[in-house]
Amino acid sequence: MSTGQSKRKILNAYHVIFLTQSTMIGVGVLSLPQQLSSLGYSQAFMPLLFGVIASITLYPMIWINSKYPNENLFRINEILLGKWIGKFVNLLFIIQFIFFIAGVINSYMHLIQSTALQEKTITGPVLCFLLLLVYIVTGGIKLIARFSMLIFFITFGMVYFTHWAFEKGDITHFLPLFNFYSANDFYDALKKGYLSILGYELIMFYFPYIVDQKKAYRHSLIGIWISILLCFITTAISVMYFSEWQLRNVEFSILNLFKAGEFSFLERIDIFGITLWVFLIFSTVATYLWCAKKGVDSLISKSSNVHLYILAAIIFFVVKLPSSRAFQETLFTSANYVAYMLIFWPIILILVHLLRKKKQVQL
């Protein structure tokens, strides 16, 4: 399908909305209350703050992309910064994507292994996951967008599963508002929590495929706010349900919320929650892998599906690194900080672009 250099405009408004939305909800959301726990009970408003920051940082991205409506960020790097610096920066981004994907898969597989499949190693699940991932990504960005749309409607029902926790919780936990004691706590929560909702910056890579580029900002904003609202609801219910100690120590707080409920014919809803989450992981990781593949395509200036298989194999080996858990954690977290660079990168590009424009005018 669209694995070639075809720049047909194939993503309409709904595709953009749901692509943005599903890339943001990955595995980080599961432990969002725990990452924000340095703020204690007043963390409930943090997702809203993140949403505001995301909306603000989205604007430069759309701006720089609209100046080059037919190029993705890799090509823009090369155009603005020259071939070699551009390629180097692209390589950094590709490596960051690879580590990000490996980190997501790693933490999700450990979660599955500790709760749902206690007697197996993670090789088998990871292999099957990667095979299916490659199958989805070969369908192109349109398939990923459609997949995200379908998944959204199916997994949206999981919000219903939190109503038992809502009933058992204390709404008095929300007061007093903004009760955090030091700026350090706030900064800590911001740093850890923001990583969970990253994903909207990938619009810089699929921008050339969007049909209605003028309204792209509005559409991706809708996608961002849908995700933020979902995060907000789950964080709020976690605040109601847990004590501060539990917020700090319980990993995967969202799944613990599911544990509160049961049907008469089915108990332990959290197992369903965990396994349904694989759809959301697919939709997140597929977009990243597609961007990584586009990056490799533009590095080598040739596009082929072999790049995809090589990338998948690299990811498999990174996940299966025979190293200690602590080392893996630090590796993935530090790779994630490069993601922050990706968010502020458009601003640098804009400066370069304006400088060039001025130079051209002067000439």
Partner: protein, 370 residues
Amino acid sequence: MSRKVLCLMLFLQLFLLVACSSHKEKNVPLEDVGMVGIIAFDYIDKDNMKLTVAIPQYSPDAQRSTQTFSVVTELVSNGVVEIEKLSDKKIVFNQLRVVLFNEEFTREGNIRKVIEHLYRRAEVGNNVLIAVVKEKGEDMLKYNYPDKPNINFYLNDLLQPSINTAFNPNTTIRDFMYTITNPVYDPVIPFIDKNSDKIEMKGVALFKGDQMLELIDPKEALVIQAIQGRKNLAPLSMRMEQGHGVEKLLIDLVQNDVQIKSNKSMTSPKLTLSFEIKGTLVEYKGERSHVFTTGKLADLEKDVSKELEQDIKKFLYKLNELQVDPSGLSEYFRMYYRGKWSREKKREILDKLEIDVHVKTSIISTGTLK
């Protein structure tokens, strides 16, 4: 081309995994698994505890409907391994229902550690009930109850929420972890005891910090539940002396609404509790038995309210003296306090707390006779 290869690889891999898995993986099928229904911890000394598990037998040919095993151990997981040596099945906690501690354990030992361990295990659900046993949990599990064939179902049903045991806080593992880690609350756990051939719920064990403080009887425990907003309370039997001699009556409480307001001050805290209770007057013994016929219920209602107010206030002051707060009254001060809340602050508040109780009783019916 690529899609064909991918699909082929997927199916091939699936087949291989299925074929190889039956040899290498030791996936224990359902019938060889011993699902523990109840686990009991008895105190031996500072380091050791006695672990007893009860596993229901599904086979209709089995002599007894439950299998029990006991070991002495220091660590919970170590104990499980020891038990596996005694049983022919693999022990899993997937269907754990009830956890029992004996009274000595709760007073001398550290039950928080044990419950935290169970909370940490992913296979144990959050809705596992906890109870404190007077004597030994092992005796309770091993005893042969004549008309209750399976101890697993018996205990589980006993501890589940039901209308007649509304004073029962139905503490689950999650509730316990929540109340013990939340500086606003103090945990409460139901207290059961063996009474000849039956198990009886004697009351509620009150905790201060991590140890059990004392046992309170059902009537007082009902107050805790009422304050926490439980709607359906148990039938309330009262003995009043409000100027008409000794009167005894039983009100079937249908609905309970509670509103709590605090004066938001940390230096001279004052709480106002307003209860609105609706009930049916089931039986009355005393002077004013004509109340059934003349409809002078309003006076009776006022007296009942006054009696209830006195009782509740007495109980709450008793709690304040003991410096325990099972119903979370200090939450209403934490809401307006900026800064970190701690147990010390809670006890501070409880020391100085003044409580004002208003009860409004409405008797909505008195049965079918006029």
